[in-house]
Amino acid sequence: MMRRLTQILATLGLLSLAAVALAGPPVEGAMEKQATNWHAIIMFCIFVAMTMGITYWAASRTKSAADFYTAGGGITGFQNGLAIAGDYMSAATLLGLTAMVYSKGYDGYIYMLAFFAGWPIILFLMAERLRNLGKFTFSDITAYRLDQGKVRTMAAISSLVVVCFYLIAQMVGAGQLIKLLFGLEYNVAIFAVGILMMVYVTFGGMVATTWVQIIKACMLLAGGTLVMILAFSQFGFSFQTLLEKATAVHALGTKLMSPGSLLAEPVTAISLGLGLMFGTAGLPHILMRFFTVTDAKEARKSVLYASGFVAYFFNVIFLMGLCGILIVGQNPEFFEGGVVGGKLIGGGNMVAMHLSKAVGGDMLLGFLAAVAFATILAVVSGLALAGASAISHDLYARVIKKGTASEAAEIRVSKIATICLGFVAIVLGILFEKQNIAFMVGLAFGVAAAANFPVLILSMYWKGLTTRGALFGGYGGLVSAVLFVLLSKSVWVDVLHNPAPLFPYTQPALFAMPIAFLFAYIFSKTDSSVRAGKEIDAFDDQYVRAQTGFGAEAASKH
């Protein structure tokens, strides 16, 4: 069934690509500001209809809690690899990173490598242990041999914080995009995304979310590649020509291809590198995807495929951003009031959209806009599911009900939680309207790296970790990371309008991660309680299961 569906989807993807390719020459001329783009609306409606169909199908297959959280654990490595790539390459990637390359050049490429470099590390050190030990959420692993109530509460809280930060970036991207294309109010756009997401997740659970991710990943890869090829062809596919022209017109000049203002001082560069690399390994919605595959073998394959797609697409984006410097940045049509070098119509994040219009006309713009919507919806759904499972599986079923909750009740709670998270996302999206979205994602990663990653990796590798150590480490990392972000320029000055930041750096990871590790170490070492002794003894069995997968959650049969 799944295989046939994959084939159908692949065919559809190719057909839509062909339709776009046949759409004809670029339409030049004055673009009415925020004119309704029917191509985009139609293509987006097709996507929504298709995914609603899948959600309907998925709803009929989502009966148990395992179906809801992990699609029954029956996803293949290739499917999951695509879905992970879909989860990971958000609207912030497509819009924010293209914009970053457009305005900062090489700095954007450094960001991308840092986003990518976490994947091999996840594979080598984490993937198989995650699959062998986990069930529905990554708290299953941190709480495996520790105090269920306290450790799960901690992990759930830090998951929710990361989810909220990440949601901001997605919602802001959605609002700006819809505003640009439909002339809709920003707030209305935000509501639309929030509500669609609630439908996918509450009715279709992980099955629907996974297929939304897979379709969207295919669309994103196809759309991005097409825009890149069309744009790059204007420079005869010569990187040399492209850069000669780009450096000649860009405000940064020859500095365009050197590390520059974003990473001006060493502390920021190192902190960003740590945050992006280990943040990937601490994102709850990504970690959750490792529980959807049948076994450790498929978990490893997932990473192989996912990292391949991610690496490829980042390089596509790099080229798109550079081409944008010339094709978008030199065209008055894309600037407010027609002033080249002024403010881009729709805001700085819209470079990728303008580029697609410039090289492929309204049809391609429509397609890429639909892709961007789809991307936002898919990522938001994945986040909501991860957040909802932290609430229902960790907090409700294990902490409040202490494992006595029925599956039906647990699923019901997670649906309610999804709806609540949808509203939280809407409110946050409205509050943070003006932020650069790639930057917001950077912050989400920083918090994930400090709050989730240290305790998770210690629980898998360090026998000596006790409940007390895990709690101090987890809360220490979470509180310090959030405080550093709150007191940094991006929130303290830009959002709260204070004159000067209290924390001088914008990236928290370099400071918050050591705090987390140190706290976990010190408070475990000094824990001489009887319980701590038992927890340490329990590591041996956990270790064998982590290594061999014996006793791991099996895929449920369909």
Binding site: F239, E244, P259, F314, V544, Q547, T548, G551
Partner: protein, 106 residues
């Protein structure tokens, strides 16, 4: 029951072999990635100008672009190498260990 099984696996010399071999392999690859990546980050932090240098006279290709492109490809190849070996050699060994633990049971 599980605990007994885990005990049997743990005492199986093959388990020690699996852990040692896979651990060594995984950590070696991880260290390669970490050293290369953070080496690169250190260059970005302390000698950013060097990355902006062109690779040749009149060329627009800079060292920075070449180095990053290389890392994208190389890191992915490392993941492929790991998956290949883990999914064949290490998984076969794991299955043997589990099978032997079951056999001992009867």
């Amino acid at each position: 029951m599980s605990s007994v099984m885990y005990e049997r696996m743990r005492t199986n010399p093959k388990f020690q072999e699996l852990v040692a071999r896979r651990g060594r392999f995984a950590w070696t690859l991880a260290l390669v990635v970490l050293i290369m990546f953070y080496g690169f980050v250190m260059v970005v932090a302390f000698n950013p100008a060097s990355l902006g240098q062109p690779v040749g006279q009149g060329s627009m290709w800079t060292f920075g672009v070449i180095v990053e492109l290389f890392m994208f490809v190389f890191f992915w190849i490392l993941t492929a190498i790991y998956v290949r070996r883990a999914n064949s050699e290490f998984d076969a060994l794991t299955q043997e260990i589990v099978k032997e633990a079951w056999k001992e049971k009867k």
